[in-house]
Amino acid sequence: MEWLQINYNYLLVIVLLMIGLWAMIGKNNLVKKCIGMCIFQNAIIMFFISMGVKAGSTIPILNYTKIDGVKTYLTEASMYANPLTQILMLTAIVVGVATLGMALTLVQKIYSEYGTCEEDEILEKLN
């Protein structure tokens, strides 16, 4: 039980990775494969974000105190969550949107060409 409490973020990520991988390999419909890819990406994003968490910390936007009316920003590193993982994942989200848009475009082109998104039906029409 304690093991579950310590590792539950990783376990959630693993479950999402399994769902995504299963959808990408096992599903027959190309749109569902794209959805699987999206779930896989989101699992990786959650993994990175949960790696950057520090216990008792807040978001990486500096707090300030006012001493005699002068703003002084507090730059203690342990007060804030790790910004680097968040920035990396900001990049990953945007690139993920671009790849998902591209994938859906190809699926739509395949659909208008073959009239179906099912993989086996496309293979039948190809032969």
């Binding site: 790696m51 945007v94 659909y111």
Partner: protein
């Protein structure tokens, strides 16, 4: 195939579960990812750029190259989608599928609601872009909100009415313009004798002692860069939606 893929997924899950004990505990401030580099940015980002939001500072300044080419990725994706889906004129050949007859949407409720929501969304999107230095936000987030507002117009009303506000020519120009603003700021740094995207080289444009001016230059250049990113993301979101929803015909949406 289904069973095989299930086995593969389960095996991968099992393997990942086995190595769980080697990963740092959740919220461990001393884990390798948290202990080394990130502290430098948290401690020095404000001193060097006067931007309290460390995410924005690192994204737009320290990692400017990464962000610029990320904008380039979005640009290339839009160009690719346009190249694949865009068609002109009437359908040719028997292969083009029959399109169902067009039913114009009834905007009785959604149209009125959209008319109220869209201005607030756009103001909020601009706020998120402009206030990214001090609060969660920045070019990507604000650009997505702005893009969503245009997509909302296209979804509730006719696609044509949204295209009247933001035509195909314009969103293609704006996707490129955003990338150009970003690269232009980088080139301006080179003209002032610095490295590409080294914003502190823009210091002569700002008043104050050289050190202060360098900090101000980094602060302002970050805002310009975020605006460029906002342009690209906003119009690319709308471009992706338009091409996908109209199947490249540009006449009507979903």
């Amino acid at each position: 195939m289904k069973v095989l893929s299930l086995i593969i997924a389960l095996v991968m899950g099992a393997l990942l579960t086995v190595i769980l004990d080697d990963l740092p505990a959740w919220g461990d401030a001393q884990s390798p990812a948290n202990a080394h580099v990130s502290a430098y940015y948290l401690e020095n980002a404000y001193k060097q750029t006067h931007v309290p939001n460390v995410v924005t500072a690192v994204l737009a300044d320290y990692r400017g190259f990464d962000t610029m080419f990320e904008t380039g990725v979005v640009f290339v994706a839009v160009i690719g989608i346009m190249a694949i889906l865009r068609r002109e004129g009437v359908p040719k050949g028997a292969k083009s599928r029959k399109r169902p007859p067009h039913q114009p949407p009834d905007p009785a409720i959604t149209g009125v609601a959209t008319r109220f929501i869209v201005p607030f969304m756009q103001i909020f999107g601009l706020y998120v872009i402009a206030h990214g230095h001090y609060s969660p936000g920045g070019g990507f987030q604000g650009g997505v909100i702005l893009g969503a507002s245009v997509i909302l117009m296209a979804m509730t009303g006719e696609l044509k009415s949204a295209l009247n506000r933001m035509s195909e020519d314009w969103f293609i120009i704006m996707v490129g313009l955003g990338f150009l603003i970003f690269a232009g700021v980088g080139l301006a740094c080179m003209f002032y004798g610095g490295n590409f995207l080294d914003y502190s080289a823009l210091a002569p444009l700002f008043s104050g002692t050289p050190q202060e001016a360098a900090i101000t230059a980094r602060y302002h250049a970050m805002l310009w860069v975020e605006i460029g990113v906002g342009f690209t993301v906003m119009s690319s979101m709308f471009a992706i939606y338009t091409y996908l929803a109209s199947d490249g015909w540009m006449d009507r949406g979903l």
